[in-house]
Amino acid sequence: MSKVRVLGPRERLPEALRTLQDLSLLHLAPPTVPPGEPLERAHLATREERERRHLLDVIVDIDAALEQLRVTTTQPLRTASRAAPGDLVRWARLAWRVRREAERLRLQLVVLEEEKALILKYQQFFSAFRSLLEAEARWPNATAYHVLVRGSDAGTIPKLRAALTAAIGDEFEIYTQPLASGEIALLIIVAAPAAARVEGLLAQAQVEEIPVPAAYGGGTLTAAIPAMLARLGEIPGALQGARKRQQDLSHEHSGELARARAAVHDRLAELEALPLSGVTPRAFVLEGWVPTRSRATLEARMRTDFGDAVAVSAVSTEEWASDEAPVVLSNPRLFRPFETLTNVFPLPRYGTIDPTPFVAVFFPAFFGLMVGDVGYGVVLAGLGLLLHRMSKHGTLLRNVSEIIGPCALFSIIAGFLFGEIFGDFGSRQLGLRPMLFDRHEAMMPFLLLAVALGAVHILLGLGLGVASLVRRHPRQALGRGLSGVMIILVILALLAAVKVLPAGFFTPAAIGLLVAFPLLILLEGVVAPIELLSTLGNILSYARIMALGVASVMLAVVANRMAGAIGSVAVGVLFALLFHLVNFAIALFSPTVHALRLHYVEFFGKFYSPGGVRYQPFGRWIPARPRA
């Protein structure tokens, strides 16, 4: 990053800001004000502050309107020009009007759907008792009660009948009809003088009568139902009308509103950038960071637009602390998907090391060693391809699919090294032989391989720690380097002790350790020995690669044995396939989690320095990308 300073006449500040916004290169920062200089931070005028608050309200209206119309914009809009005078006022009115209209239509649709569902419920009742309900009007001295009972409560009907007989004798009739919904419709017809007692009984039994909606004439259900059925016929048309109006509204205004949203965001960004500039009575100054390779572009554009009126100069590195500089991760195309894995952590500080390239190499390698099966690797590759086809560029799903690719490749390579295609199926049926060793039997060599990989990974982490600390904290860098040397000495001594290396290595390694130990305490304090032990523990933690790898192959072997262990071959093969499926699911999850853990806990702990500020150039608004 380069820090630059832009100087020019005060009256041209808004124009300079607009040019910088079009360029989208400068990450603005408040200017440093040398003591005694007449430079002060610019403030928004009352009118501008009012405009800013108004635009915040407009954005709320536009977002709500677009959400109601279900318009999602993910691509930046290529607006040729900025908002013309009067546009913002027009857009504010439009957003307000469309929002309210869209909300009204949404509400209308909800009400219509609810009304339709209600009428359909009554329609079931009406269909069940059509003839009786029609006759209901002819009983002047009777009162009818319409009740719905849940199917599971059918036992209450005989009890109700018995209670009514006990209370009013035979002055009632009960008709029941099961409905398609599983409920039971009850029509109770009672002689008018006994109605009050029946109502009391129904209330006591907590049986609720179906209310007759007032909107359809009230009174009896018989009177209301024709109106309800007529309304049911009208509702589809009303729903279609509301949806058509919604579509028209969207068609008519969504483009304009999307343009308005971009322009309003741009204007807001411009207003919010203003206080980041410094002004004197006659001049303005803007400061910020720009990627060093883009500095020439910035200078050329400012020269083209402003000639000599505005000057762009570099601020010397002595004038700014590296911690203030923003960070942008810049990785080759092949490594970029792995930024998804490093983005779980806060950004690294400026000037420290981005771990993405190392994750891109070691993560698939560890994953591959744990899965280590050609068959599973091929299936995984197929899954990755499928995800790649289903996903859009720049989404999380696309990144995941691009991470799956190398993981599948390493799984296939490791599968050939260990001679595995769906466990021991490859060796038994296809005659595949391991190129390195058989994980199924050679556990100790696999353990040594895993721990050796751990040693390499951790030593690399310590080396990166030295590289990132050497400029700012040379003492800490020396301590970390010494830890690395001691780890190597411990490994040499151990290998000499178990006679992997000549015994002559042991004494020099032990002496080296004895000399390095006090130096380490001197450099890093009394906690240094504990940290050294913890680092050795970290190396041993890589034994999980062996453990998960062996567990994976064992499960695959068990799956294959199922095919022959069950009487029927077809059933055995089916069980074997199911077991392989389960093993594959485990092989997706566990190696991912543990390979991540080895990076996040063991590896990053040796050098990663979080706390960087994200590089956010002052520019045109870009809609947020969907996550998946």
Partner: protein
């Protein structure tokens, strides 16, 4: 008889860490669930938190393998 003792030792080497891991995960699980309810963006960290105690059982497995295949 020695084979029986070796088998028992290997079983203990994996069973005791497995119980310890289960206990640790039973404490971490609810805490992680509570944290996720408030901050869903911590899901990756949460999975790692759950995976951390598994180191114990993995080392137990390695020791058991070392006992059986020495």
């Amino acid at each position: 008889m020695e084979a029986v003792y070796l088998a028992l030792a290997a079983a203990a080497a994996i069973a005791i860490p497995a119980l310890a891991t289960a206990w640790a995960q039973s404490r971490i699980g609810p805490a992680v669930a509570a944290a996720l309810a408030e901050k869903p963006e911590l899901s990756t960290t949460a999975v790692l938190m759950i995976a951390i105690p598994e180191t114990v059982v993995i080392l137990g497995f390695v020791v058991a393998a070392a006992i059986l295949f020495r």
